[in-house]
Amino acid sequence: MTKYSKLFSFAFFSIVILLGLVFYQFRSQESSLSLEFYTDEGHIDELSGVNFTGYAFSSTRTIYAPHFEFEEGEFTFRTDQPLIQQLDYQYNPGMNRYVRDYRSFMRGKARHLSLFTETETSIYYTATQSNTNWQAAPDEHVFISHFNKETEEETTFEALLTGGANHNVVATYVDDSALTLVTTGVPEGNSEHSWLIYAFDFDQPQEELSPVADINRLTGSDMIQADSSRLKTERYIPFRSLQTGEIDAFGNVIEYHIDSYYIYDTQSNTLKEMPDFEEGDMVVLSELERIITGNIQGEKAVWYEWAFDTQELNELGSTVMATSSIGRIHDIFPWLEFNENIHLTNGHLYLTEDISIATESRSLIQVLSLDTMETVFSGHIDTVNGPQDLDMDISIQELSFDPSFF
């Protein structure tokens, strides 16, 4: 037996130490992190159908930044999932849901929520080849798929986008069988990118599509952002133009100003500029046939409905905002989309913001009902231990809606 003693003691020593380290680490993480909503107002049930992903990073407690997902009112951590699911994890709750529920439909489809439009019965997917093949140059061919959730049947069309080059699909709005494709591309006879709108009808599929509108040309601005709609079942699409502000010593723009808000009607293919408010911030959103605009000063917001045809502003009422900046981030960089932190669904406004508590930050979410002009929910996410958890940053990253709840 002594012959093996060296072998066995080395093996035993290393196994004990390695397992010991794993165990020690497990112990030193105290109880594994668990999150919950701290409700200030209203009821958490108002968040059903709202899914989001985020992270809870602690420099002292854990060795990694655990990504969490909030779905159907429950927090789950990515690392709690089975390994396979972790690997296929997308930092977007909508994509995770699609991958989980429609795995074969999602095969070969780019995982950008903006390429998908979901209704209660269908999922639409519009993308160019460059969305899935990173080597391919942006091109003029779009693949438009329709997936019937009930029959699980998929119909795919291929169409050529004319009137421009280097297309990038940003969103696809749906109204029955009619699709409105919002893309950025370089229009013919131009060298700058522009927002080009195409129309496609599943009942009369065409192989060649020509732009029905060029937003940049219509607004006369070369810096345009589109509303980051989550459902894309709206008739009206808000756009806004930006102006460059401050420029630093190296000639880099370090600030942009919002210039004007525009509304595009997907039925008449017309664009109208919205009237500005004299004071305060302006927020523009849309849902189905409605256009909602808000005038926010500090924590007080006044909400209006704007009629596209008559261009009349009709006051709905006013609300109190959870913070003076919630729902509006002013990024230096001009992203393609705005309204990242404010969404209008089912007559409710969903607003998020990361708030600072001492050195760390927590995510805040507020839900406003436009019918009652009440805050139906307001709360923030924190660990079960609450704010005494040091060095903890909790942030909501991506938010999406499950249309079957509305």
């Binding site: 060296k6 794993v22 420099s59 699911q85």
Partner: protein, 282 residues
Amino acid sequence: MKKTLKAFLNLTAFELDRLSKFLYALIGVTLVANMIGYVLIPLRFTDRINAYMVQNSVTEQQALEVYGELSFYDILQTSWILGPIALGVSALLLYAFFIWYREWLGKNTFAYRLLMLPIPRMHIFYSKFVVIYVSIFTLIAIQIVSLIFGFNLMSALVPSEWLRHMSFFSALSMHPFFYYILPLEPWIFLAINGIGLVFLHVTFTVILLERSFSVKGILIGITYVLITLLIALFPAFLPELIGNHYYLYNSELLILTVLSLGLISFTSIMISRFLLNKKITV
């Protein structure tokens, strides 16, 4: 069955015995260098703070603002800690070659003895393999013990107000070296060791190719390495080949990678077995 297991254990214990002096040397170097680092770095830090406080007649707080608080990570980054690890990794890598070539070296052709043992010749292959892995794990375990000791030593040598608030595991996981070498994330640890295992199998196969066919064997060996690389990297290039990065799910790519690594290991073992049984020359 029990008899061959006993013979295998015998052989493994024997191989470990031959390696143990080498391993003790590595452990010694690691511990000595680490200890120096654990003492030297905190002492140098406190000296510097104290000197600054005296010279500029400022408070502790101000001195700390200039130099920053000390963290375990600062110690981990020094070559007192990283040096022995690099040494251990490269030494064991060299040993993976030496463990075979020594049987043919010098006057003592111990290969005769080993190959003429009345046990399956793959026992020789596996025992050498296991011994290298036992050494790797032993070194890692020693390193862990040393690090735990070092963390406590540092905490004892430096006033706690001068220490940055950073847990033992945060410091380790911040460091790419330790993140991959230590079992902080079980999957990463398994993956790294799985790749190491396949790598060792391929290395052994190449050595046996050389031992069987000499110069021609080296050429075959290089070709074999290239083929295994191609197979191992194939899943990574597959999305490019298909022209769709979303056609396969990450989990499927991982499974493919695991399968291709498994295939490489299996082929290496089969080739090694064939060479040991039919082609090896003393």
